[in-house]
């Protein structure tokens, strides 16, 4: 009698879940010919050597209860090269992510955080959010809590270059003596299923991966490995997800995220300097930081509200008629990372500008009103008129009301060469994160809009939850690939991703309505929408608990 799911389909499952379960043996990716069961059998095979896949492997290997599992991680790029990544202190990679405190704790618990080059990492304690369509602004920080409990200021998030994080995880794996799990420079040629060998094992619902390993130029080998649990941490076009036959829902935003590394103007006692700023002079700035006033005299500072100064501030300004927000995220030594979500046309304009013109345009985007920004973007970008952008900016700044110094974004002085780049923005969510002997994590499971900096954080949360699920299975002797055990992982992460992805999608939609010349039209409707958003922002910032609730949920 062959082992199979009961022939009468279970009444307790909806049609699509039943379909998924019965499809398990028919899953495939690529054309694979598997005529015999592989000798190489692994407990956990992870496809994808990005931060999410590496974090999962590190979590499994750093816990004594799961370190005995036979693991493999398959990555097309050369991981040893990533372990030796190095940039001088005045240059930063343009791919940097904002890591929440929860994920920082996770990375500390698996022993990877200490391997980061902490001089290249910038914790920030405040996020200033503004809207070009109105005067509203909101500051996300934990200052109220710090004042109430007389405690040090809590970090909102920490900016870490992706390459720094990857290198730290690889170093931790070396420390754990687990580098033989890394199948670097290997690509997945196809994924199929094992066979039911009448004289041996029945691996017909075990995924079997055919790998091409690039050895030397002449020799490249193919091998087949069987996985008790196959994990897809292989990005938005995940082959593992394709193997499982899991569909995705979502849409393209028709927007691009433009990234670059910026150099900022150092201010005296600038919050962007890597040493902690002088408490007294910065104090007045922050004490005057309330929503009604635009300027306060130092004499209004009271001793009752002594909050510690923050180490750095992140800035985000919504540009409703330009396709999305611009964000400046702090890095050490007066550097910052730019993420500007905008239309494809504006993105290609920005990438074609000279570094100094781009710097002026970014400054304009942070300070001027949208009509002026649009004008600046329309200036020709050829190198003859290199100072046009700068002079336009200077002239227009004189005629635009500026936010108070405490809330003013920094002036960009330069753009690091070769860092401007862009990537398309999309929303994707897999219809299921699990399948028998299979789980998806990171971008393979969900891709969201970058405006809240939560994409990688969701992925790291997936890695933590999946490692915990595997640990629970091992503790009770269960098969780590058992579909019922994986349900716990799916239940924990699916709702979370939908909440986050859906939330930023709604926010993105709301912040592209209204604003001069936007799709909602100029004039009355646009102005009204802008005012409503301003009211919304005021509510979030001033109704007690709402802002803290959002920060807690996101962090």
């Amino acid at each position: 009698m062959s082992l199979r799911v009961a022939s009468r389909p279970s009444k307790y499952l909806c049609k699509s879940c039943r379909f998924d379960l019965s499809r398990a043996r028919k899953r495939k990716y690529g054309t694979s010919s598997i005529t015999s069961n592989p000798q190489d059998i692994y407990d956990v095979v992870t496809v994808g050597g990005g931060p999410v896949g590496l974090a999962l492997l590190t979590a499994l290997k750093s816990s004594p209860a799961t370190s005995h599992l036979r693991c493999a991680l398959i990555e097309t790029q050369t991981l040893p090269k990533q372990k030796s990544w190095d940039l001088p202190p005045d240059q930063y990679s343009n791919r940097a992510s904002s890591i929440t405190p929860t994920n920082q704790s996770f990375l500390e618990s698996i022993g990877a955080w200490k391997h980061l080059d902490l001089r290249r990492v910038q914790p920030y304690d405040e996020m200033q959010v503004g809207d070009a369509g109105n005067d509203a602004s909101i500051q996300f920080d934990w200052k109220a809590e710090a004042v109430r409990y007389n405690a040090p200021l809590r970090t909102v998030a920490t900016m870490v270059e992706n390459a720094n994080l990857t290198r730290a995880l690889l170093r931790r794996l070396e420390e754990l003596d687990a580098e033989d799990c890394l199948l670097s420079s290997s690509s997945v040629a196809s994924i199929g299923n094992g066979i039911d060998d009448p004289e041996g094992l029945n691996l017909s619902n075990w995924p079997v991966i055919s790998l091409n390993s690039a050895g030397t130029a002449e020799s490249s080998s193919t091998r087949q490995i069987a996985a008790r649990l196959l994990i897809g941490a292989d990005g938005i076009n995940s082959p593992v997800r394709t193997f499982a036959g899991i569909s995705t829902n979502g849409w393209d935003y028709n927007r691009h995220g433009v990234v670059a590394t910026l150099k900022l103007e150092p201010q005296p006692d600038s919050p962007f300097s890597s040493s902690s700023s002088d408490p007294n002079s910065a104090l007045e700035d922050f004490l005057s930081d309330d929503t009604q006033t635009t300027s306060t005299s130092p004499s209004q500072a009271t001793n009752e509200n002594i909050t510690p100064s923050n180490r750095a501030t992140a800035y985000q300004r919504f540009l409703p008629s330009l396709g999305g927000p611009i964000a400046i995220l702090p890095l050490p030594n007066n550097h910052a990372s730019l993420v500007w979500s905008t239309t494809p046309q504006i993105a290609s304009t920005l990438k074609s500008l000279s570094p100094s013109a781009l710097a002026s345009t970014i400054n304009a985007a942070l300070r001027l009103n949208e009509v002026d920004i649009k004008y600046m973007l329309s200036l020709p970008s050829s190198s003859d008129n290199e100072h046009d952008h700068e002079s336009e900016l200077t002239w227009r700044l004189q005629h635009t009301p500026q936010p108070p110094p405490a809330r003013a974004p920094p002036m960009i002085t330069a753009v690091q060469p070769h860092t401007p780049a862009s990537f398309p923005l999309r929303l994707r969510n897999a219809s299921s994160y699990i399948s028998p002997r299979l789980a998806l994590a990171g971008d393979a499971a969900h891709t969201i809009h970058p405006l809240a900096g939560q994409g990688l954080n969701l992925g790291l949360g997936d890695a933590e939850a999946l490692a915990r699920c595997i640990l629970g299975s091992v503790a009770c002797g269960a098969d780590v690939g058992d579909a019922m055990r994986l349900e716990g992982y799916s239940a924990e992460r699916y709702g979370r991703a939908v909440e986050m992805g859906g939330g930023v999608d709604v926010l993105n939609g709301v912040y592209q309505m209204g604003g001069e010349g936007s799709l909602s039209g100029d004039g009355v409707v646009g102005g009204l929408l802008g005012r409503m958003r301003g009211l919304g922002m005021w509510v979030v910032g001033n109704v007690p608990g709402v802002k803290e609730g959002i920060m807690r949920r996101a962090g």
Partner: protein, 317 residues
């Protein structure tokens, strides 16, 4: 004890009669079924009978489980509750070990590996999970129903770890057929078994014969209480979509209360002391658990009085 009003023809059971499957409409009579545990009817000689029809096994039970065999490993099938309960079994075993009389753990690395005998293993939910633990040396799993042993062996073939030689051994037999291996097991496990046995007293004695001194008898069953009648017969065996197990799975009359178990082991100890010997068994450890919808199984204090519970007894010598 109070009487449950009769609403249908019911059984008046004497201890020597086998149970008849009646399904959910049979109303149980509340009678002191301590008689069930203290029955002194000797085990019938079974030499002429094929394996599986010995004294501890009821033919109707075998038939019932034969029908359930093919869906045993369906995670959304009738056995889902057993799958969900399995982690609690391991938690209970760990908590018994920690109270063990010889729990002088030798440093962080416990080199000791355990041998298990799982009686009434069914499709092997517990047996296979025990076989995967790093602290297990071997698991012998027996069941009188041939069809479920076939399912268990098929499941074993799908896992290289379980197929390692000597790790997991399924045998289609009843406990009385297992003449060898006396006193060779660290754990004898009886999960959701004793409520399907006609003569539990004899059965327990046979099971305990296979325990090493210092070994543990660990099992789970259901207490006999009006509330357990309601939950396990009226609700759990109700038609879809309310019910979760097939009709006829349980017979309320056969449930055993924790107090009855305690009395039985106390009696064994008393008889030993009358003979001038030391206590054979340690104190009976009991933990109640409850299955909550959408949550699963949880240990709930004092729920052993009216619902499912785990029991563990150490054989001291």
């Amino acid at each position: 004890m109070s009487r449950v009003p009769r609403i249908a023809p019911r059984l008046l059971r004497q201890p020597w009669q086998t149970t008849q499957r009646e399904g959910a409409t049979a109303v149980a009579v509340l009678r002191p079924t301590t008689v069930r545990l203290y029955s002194t009817t000797p085990a019938r000689a079974h030499a002429a009978q094929p394996s599986g029809t010995g004294s501890s096994v009821s033919a109707s039970e075998v038939t019932h489980f034969t029908n359930l065999a093919s869906s045993w490993w369906d995670p959304h099938g009738p056995s889902r509750l057993l799958h969900l309960m399995n982690p609690l079994r391991h938690d209970f075993i760990k908590s018994c070990l920690s109270t063990s009389a010889d729990s002088a753990a030798v440093g962080p690395e416990r080199a000791k590996k355990y041998a298990y005998l799982d009686i009434g293993c069914g499709g092997g939910i517990f047996a296979s999970s025990a076989a995967r633990l790093p602290s297990t040396s071997s698991v012998t799993a027996i069941d009188p129903t041939a069809e479920v042993i076939k399912v268990a062996k098929e499941h074993q073939r799908a896992d290289p770890l379980l197929s390692l030689p000597g790790r997991l051994n399924y045998v289609n037999c009843a406990i009385e057929d297992l003449e060898s291996h006396l006193k060779t097991f660290d754990f004898v496990t009886l999960f959701e078994v004793i409520e399907h046995i006609d003569r539990p007293s004899t059965f327990l004695r046979q099971a305990l014969n296979h325990l090493k001194p210092g070994g543990w008898l660990i099992g789970s069953t259901i207490a006999r209480h009006p509330l357990s009648y309601f939950t396990t017969k009226v609700i759990a065996e109700a038609p879809w979509p309310i019910g979760v197990v097939p009709r006829g799975t349980h017979d309320w009359d056969k449930y055993i209360n924790p107090s009855e178990l305690r009395d039985w082991f106390a009696k064994e100890n008393r008889e030993a002391s009358e003979r001038g010997e030391e206590d054979i068994y340690g104190a009976v450890k009991v933990e109640g658990c409850v299955c909550l919808p959408l949550v699963g199984w949880k240990f709930v204090g004092r729920s052993e009085e009216f619902g499912n519970y785990f029991f563990g007894v150490q054989k001291l010598r």
